[in-house]
Amino acid sequence: MEKDKQKKIIDVELYLHMYQQMAKIRLFELEVNELYLSAKMPGLAHLYIGQEAVAVGVCEALTREDYITSTHRGHGHCLAKGAEVDRMFAELLGKEAGYCRGKGGSMHIADPASGNLGANAIVGGSAGIATGAGFAAKRLGNGRVAVCFFGEGALGQGLLYEVMNLAQLWKLPVIYVCENNLYNEYTHYTETTAGELSARPQAFGMHTEIVDGQDARAVYEATKRLVERARRGEGPAFLLCETYRYRGHHVGDIDRSYYRSKEEELDWETHRDPLNNLADWMLAQGLCDQRTLDQIQSEVEAEVKAGVEFALNAPFPDESEVDQHVYA
């Protein structure tokens, strides 16, 4: 009984932490949208809103030393893996205090200290890097696993199949996390993808699981299983997460009527929101009260507000930085 009670406490802490991480990502992205609309942010931004349960569910099942590679829609992955809000904003604004000294920007945030080998603006472009990280982990025997995040659009890229073949052949500790948010940019995935998504990894004999990507607990539990498998030397896995991108392909993609309906968007936001899902479940189970959730929300709001202030006030890199770090 005592053991059950302890497990329950640990689980509640885990769920509350997952909720906090998702809330942080949601608020971070809303703030990014504001920064973009108020012309304070240069370049492009691809918002992760709606998909928070995937990044958080996956990263909660990893250690800080485990690796991830991310995508152009990567803010959520970076935050979930342990990046700080203030230095994230600083990078998005091209400031020296950013994770990459302002040289990477929104689509290239890398933070080796938290195991983040970098977001990649080539669709599917990091599949090789993640697989190589898994290869190195196995070779060095350090017990780490590598997670490769990508969207369903990356299933159109040949590199992914080349490296999944290698990973399966050599039993590398790599987890390929496919976030099917239904749209390759502005095109529904069924218009671009023959056959079943999950049949593709299965063709390599790769262990494949499909999970509700709006359910953080389900994503976490699935990832935990796959990570344990990988650490035991049982090889790679493919985790297909069914999710939804609430916003456009990027912040400027406002009129989406030509590729999807408002009703569809509203349906996901109303019935399948990852934050509401977790909150409702915790409340229904009596694991926490509304005050706790409100408290988390206000903590995260304060963190995001302070982070934006920090970034807005931070200096740009010195001009002498421009040709530094071309070579090591």
Binding site: Y67, T69, G98, Y99, C100, R101, G102, K103, G104, H108, A110, D111, P112, L117, G118, N120, I122, G125, S126, A127, G128, I129, A130, T131, G132, A133, G134, F135, A136, A137, R139, L140, A146, G158, L159, E162, V163, N165, L166, L169, Q324, H325, V326, Y327, A328
Partner: protein, 333 residues
């Protein structure tokens, strides 16, 4: 002129490459070789023969025919503590690995603000006249020399090949290493002992007073042959080998052109927008007031490389072509 010491023996270019790899595999357990038919087969050129027997299949790794995949895996392994040497059998196949080399390997260090490193070596081949036709004969080192963040090596002798490959493997940056497959059996002196050759240091392969011939890879052999013929008609040619196109030892090239007042640049890449254009521009700029003639470029003909020997041989600069060009520049009829 860097020359091997008295302990040197004569070994082939291919053997020099193999020695460099074996020594680095012995020295550093993070080093591994990965590529198509690199293990038991030792590559179609047999350059790697015997390595798998000494180092085992975990360090000399045969792969599927997936150039992009193995290079991508190499990039990731390099970022996380390993030092991969990726074997891309034919230089023509670098087109298949371009995203991994150009958008990933070359940019990771910069994009991460200097936090990540990619110590990967991509070994590949170059060179025509092997009757291998348009997709197995190109010299595409200019494509990679164009990219900031990459280093590019084009050795011309067994001695240089060994010393430069060891440097490449120890470098913390991505390096593309181009071996002219027509030179694998070329013999030259290589010392028994350990040595490395720094990048960005051109080598004066032959001193001369009347004209500078800058040449890369197998074109160095062509230039040296031409210099001998020119000597017979009283023209003293200096042959300079940059050894690495990136970084490029501009000063040695400029100094030589200042001394001789004339320069030809010979490289087996396509002539248009190529290595010859870059080097000619550097000399024209740096030695302008010393030049008595325009700097001339001699690259591969701007055609897909034909199969027929009768046609293929027309596409690559020869000793005689270089001699004729030098005579013209020196005003010798």
């Amino acid at each position: 002129m860097s020359t091997p010491d008295a302990n040197a023996r004569e070994i082939t270019f291919g053997e020099a490459i193999r020695e460099a790899l074996a020594e680095e595999l012995r020295r550093d357990e993070r080093v591994f070789i990965i590529g198509e038919d690199v293990a038991e087969a030792g590559t179609p050129f047999k350059v790697l023969s015997g390595l798998v027997q000494e180092f085992g299949p975990d360090r000399v790794i045969d792969t599927p025919i997936s150039e992009a995949g193995i290079t991508g895996l190499g990039v990731g392994a390099a970022m996380t503590g390993m030092r991969p040497v990726v074997d891309i059998m034919f230089g023509d196949f670098v087109t298949l690995v371009m995203d991994q080399m150009v958008n990933q390997a070359a940019k990771v260090h910069y994009m991460s603000g200097g936090k990540l490193h990619v110590p990967i070596v991509m070994r590949t081949t170059m060179g025509a006249t092997r009757r291998s036709a348009a997709q197995h004969s190109q010299s595409l080192h200019a494509l990679l020399s164009h990219i900031p963040g990459l280093k590019v090596v084009v050795p011309s002798t067994p001695y240089d090949a060994k010393g430069l490959l060891k440097t490449a493997i120890r470098d913390d940056n991505p390096v593309a290493f181009f071996e002219d497959k027509m030179m694998y059996r070329l013999k030259g002196p290589v010392p028994v002992g350990e040595y490395t050759i720094p990048f960005g240091a051109a080598d004066i392969k032959r001193s001369g007073a009347d004209i500078t011939i800058v040449a890369t890879s197998s074109m160095v052999q062509v230039a040296l042959g031409a210099a001998k013929l020119l000597e017979e008609i009283g023209i003293s040619a200096e042959v300079i080998d940059p050894r690495t196109t990136k970084p490029l030892d501009k000063q040695t090239l400029i100094d030589s052109a200042k001394k001789t007042s004339r320069a030809i640049v010979v490289d087996e890449g396509y002539e248009s927008y190529g290595v010859t254009a870059e080097i000619a521009a550097i000399i024209a700029d740096g030695a302008f007031y010393y030049l008595d003639a325009p700097v001339k470029r001699m690259g591969a003909m701007d055609v897909p490389i034909p199969f027929s020997p009768a046609l293929e041989d027309l596409t690559v600069p020869t000793e005689q072509d270089v001699v004729e060009m030098a005579k013209t520049l020196c005003g010798v009829v």
